[in-house]
C-alpha cells in the first residue's frame, strides 16, 4: 500500500513535469500592445427615475384642471319641451347617471345653466330658462345631491347650441347643461 502511494505520487510528479515541459515548448510570444491610444470608456449618465404608482380614479380626477374636466363633459345635458320646464321621462336616466357621478365625486360643485330656443321673447325666456335650471336642480336634490353643491343660472335664448332655425335646432337649444365650477 505504501509502495502504491509512493508510486502514484512519483507518477503524478512525473506527469506534472512532462506537462510543464510541454507547455514551455508550445509557448508563443504575447501579441504586441495596440498602437492606438486607448479610448476612455463611455459613461451613460442617467438620473434616477421615480416610477409613478398606479393612480386611483380620484387621484386622476384631482390632477385635471376644471377646464379639462368640463371638456370631457362628464355630465350630460337634458332637453325640454317647447315652453315647458318639467323634467321629461327621457331626461330621468340622464339625471340619474349625473347624480351617480356627483356622488362619486362628492367635492364637486356645479352650475346648472337653463337655456331656451329662439321662439320666445327675451324677458319670458330668461324666466323660463331659470325655471328649467331650477327644475333640474330640484330633481338632482331628489336623487340625493345636496342643494349646496349646485348653483343655477339662466341665459334665456342668448346662447343657442345650434344656430339653426328649425325644430331640430330648437329641440337642442331647449336644454339644461352642467358646468363644473369646483372640485
Amino acid at each position: 500500500m505504501k509502495k502504491f502511494l509512493v508510486f502514484s505520487l512519483s507518477l503524478l510528479l512525473a506527469l506534472t513535469f512532462i506537462a510543464s515541459c510541454k507547455k514551455k515548448v508550445k509557448e508563443v510570444p504575447p501579441p504586441p500592445p495596440p498602437q492606438a491610444q486607448e479610448q476612455p470608456k463611455v459613461e451613460k449618465v442617467e438620473a434616477p427615475v421615480v416610477k409613478e404608482p398606479v393612480l386611483t380614479e380620484e387621484e386622476i380626477f384631482q390632477k385635471k384642471t376644471l377646464e379639462e374636466i368640463n371638456q370631457e363633459k362628464p355630465l350630460a345635458m337634458i332637453f325640454f319641451d317647447y315652453d315647458k320646464y318639467n323634467i321629461r321621462p327621457d331626461a330621468v336616466p340622464v339625471l340619474e347617471t349625473n347624480a351617480q357621478w356627483l356622488k362619486a365625486h362628492p367635492t364637486v360643485k356645479i352650475l346648472i345653466e337653463g337655456h331656451c330656443d329662439e321662439r320666445g321673447t327675451e324677458e319670458y325666456n330668461l324666466a323660463l330658462g331659470e325655471r328649467r335650471a331650477k327644475a333640474t336642480m330640484e330633481y338632482l336634490v331628489s336623487l340625493g345631491i345636496p342643494a349646496e353643491r349646485m348653483k343655477i343660472i339662466s341665459y334665456g335664448k342668448s346662447q343657442p347650441l345650434d344656430p339653426g332655425h328649425d325644430e331640430a335646432a330648437w329641440a337642442k337649444n331647449r336644454r339644461a347643461q352642467f358646468l363644473i365650477i369646483e372640485k
Binding site: G120, T121, E122, E123, Y124, L126, R131, I153
Partner: protein
C-alpha cells in the same frame, strides 16, 4: 244626394278651419290721427362765405333738419320745386305773401357763418299768416355736432307746436358687433352709434331713465345675471339686485322709482326700488312668472307679463301691486308690454304660428291692431317720447337688427347693420 251633403259639410269644415282664431280680434289698421300736417318751408340756408367749412355745415344741418321734419309726422315740407316759383329767401326782408302763395305756414330761414374758426348757425322761424318771427336761435358748433344742431332746432320746432321734443333723445340697445353683447346708444335716426360698456361678459336689456342720464341693465359680469344702474356720462355704475336672475329694469316716468323682475326670493316676481337702487320691495306675490314691467305715464300703474293663467298674457296693476287685471285677449303668448306716452295704448309682442309681431292694444276702445306684418321675429317694442314712433328688433333681413316704425305701421326703417342688434329702448 248623400255625396252632395257630405261635400257641403266638408266645405263648411274647411271654411271654419281656415279662420285663424286670432284674426277675430284684429282690425284693419286705419288709425289716422286727426292732426293736419303743418306746412313748413325750408329753403337753402344763406352762407356768409364760400369756405368749405361753412358749406359743409349748411349742407349737413339742412339735410338732417329736413329728415327730422319729414320724420315728425306733424310737419310737411313744402316741395322744393315750389320754392322756385317765388323770389329767393332774403333774410333782410321776408316777403310773407310769397311764402303764403306756396301754402307755407311756417318758414325756417337759416344763415351759416364763420367767426374765428367757429361755425355759427342762426335760425329764424316765421309764422306766415301773422307775419311774425316766432323763434330765433343761434348755435355755435364744431363739425362733429352739426347733426345735433339740426336735432336741437327740430326739437324747438316740436316744442313750438306743443309736441314733446324727441330728436335729441338716444336709443340704447345691445349689440354683439365687437364680439359679445355690450350696451350701445345711437341717435333716433341710427347715427352716432356709441359703445357704452367694455367687458367680455354679456350686458343685456338696457332701459333709460326719463332724463336719459342713467341706464338700468342686466349684466353677467359677476357670473350671475345681476341688475345694475350705469351713469354713462359719469363713468359710474352701481349694483341694484344681485341675487337670483335680475332683469327687465324700467325707470318710472317721474324718474323716482325703478321696477324690475327678479327671482331673488325664488320665483320671478316684480319689485320696485328707489331710482338709485335702494329700498327694494316686492309687489307681486304669485307662483307664476311675473315679468316685463312697464310704467303708465302717470306712474300710478304698471303693465306686466304673467303666465298665471297658463300662458304669458299682459296684465295691469297699481304701482303698489294691487288691483291686478288682465288686459290682453286672443293670443296664447304675449309679452314685452310698452305703455305709450299718451297712456292710451300698450304695444306688446304676440306669438302666432311661430311668428312674433308687434301689436297695439288701445285701452280706450279695447281694440288690438297689428303693427308689423313681416313673417319674422319682431320683438322688444319701445315708444318715442311723442308716441308717434316705435323702435323694435327684427330678424326680417336674416340677422337681428333694430328698426323704427310709425304708430300706424308706415315708415319702416332699419337703423343698424353692424353685427346683431337688439333690445332697443328709447323711452319708458
Amino acid at each position: 244626394m248623400k255625396n252632395k251633403s257630405q261635400f257641403i259639410i266638408l266645405l263648411l269644415a274647411l271654411f271654419l278651419l281656415s279662420i285663424p282664431t286670432f284674426s277675430q280680434q284684429e282690425v284693419v289698421l286705419t288709425i289716422k290721427e286727426g292732426v293736419p300736417a303743418i306746412s313748413i318751408a325750408l329753403p337753402s340756408f344763406i352762407l356768409d362765405s364760400s369756405s368749405p367749412e361753412v358749406k359743409q355745415a349748411a349742407e349737413t344741418i339742412h339735410e338732417v333738419l329736413k329728415a327730422d321734419l319729414n320724420y315728425s309726422r306733424i310737419f310737411q315740407l313744402v316741395p322744393q320745386e315750389h320754392l322756385n316759383y317765388i323770389r329767393p329767401l332774403n333774410p333782410k326782408e321776408i316777403f310773407f305773401k310769397d311764402w303764403d302763395s306756396i301754402q307755407a305756414r311756417i318758414l325756417v330761414a337759416g344763415e351759416v357763418s364763420q367767426s374765428q374758426n367757429k361755425i355759427i348757425f342762426e335760425a329764424k322761424v316765421y309764422d306766415i299768416k301773422s307775419e311774425r318771427m316766432i323763434l330765433g336761435k343761434r348755435f355755435q358748433a364744431d363739425p362733429e355736432v352739426f347733426r345735433l344742431v339740426a336735432h336741437r332746432l327740430a326739437d324747438e320746432l316740436l316744442k313750438l307746436f306743443g309736441e314733446k321734443p324727441f330728436f335729441t333723445t338716444k336709443i340704447v340697445f345691445v349689440s354683439n358687433r365687437d364680439g359679445n353683447d355690450e350696451l350701445y346708444m345711437m341717435d333716433y335716426d341710427g347715427a352716432n352709434q356709441t359703445r357704452l360698456t367694455f367687458n367680455k361678459w354679456r350686458d343685456y336689456m338696457p332701459a333709460w331713465s326719463p332724463d336719459q342720464r342713467a341706464i338700468v341693465f342686466t349684466s353677467y359680469r359677476a357670473g350671475n345675471p345681476d341688475l345694475y344702474i350705469l351713469y354713462p356720462y359719469k363713468g359710474k355704475m352701481v349694483p341694484v339686485s344681485t341675487k337670483g336672475t335680475n332683469f327687465s329694469g324700467a325707470f318710472s316716468p317721474d324718474g323716482k322709482k325703478l321696477a324690475f323682475c327678479s327671482t331673488r326670493d325664488g320665483n320671478a316676481e316684480i319689485y320696485v326700488a328707489n331710482a338709485d337702487g335702494t329700498n327694494i320691495r316686492r309687489i307681486t306675490f304669485n307662483s307664476a312668472i311675473d315679468t316685463a314691467p312697464s310704467w303708465s305715464p302717470t306712474g300710478r300703474e304698471i303693465a306686466f307679463t304673467s303666465d298665471r293663467t297658463g300662458s304669458p298674457q299682459i296684465y295691469i296693476m297699481d304701482s303698489e301691486g294691487g288691483n291686478v287685471r288682465k288686459v290682453s285677449f286672443g293670443g296664447d303668448y304675449l309679452d314685452s308690454p310698452a305703455w305709450s306716452p299718451d297712456g292710451e295704448r300698450i304695444a306688446f309682442v304676440s306669438r302666432v304660428n311661430n311668428f312674433f309681431d308687434i301689436y297695439i292694444l288701445n285701452l280706450k276702445t279695447n281694440q288690438i291692431t297689428k303693427l308689423t306684418e313681416t313673417n319674422a321675429r319682431n320683438e322688444s317694442p319701445s315708444w318715442s317720447l311723442d308716441g308717434r314712433h316705435l323702435v323694435f328688433s327684427s330678424n326680417l333681413s336674416g340677422s337681428i337688427q333694430i328698426y323704427s316704425i310709425d304708430y300706424d305701421g308706415t315708415n319702416l326703417r332699419c337703423l343698424t347693420s353692424k353685427g346683431e342688434n337688439k333690445l332697443p329702448n328709447w323711452t319708458n
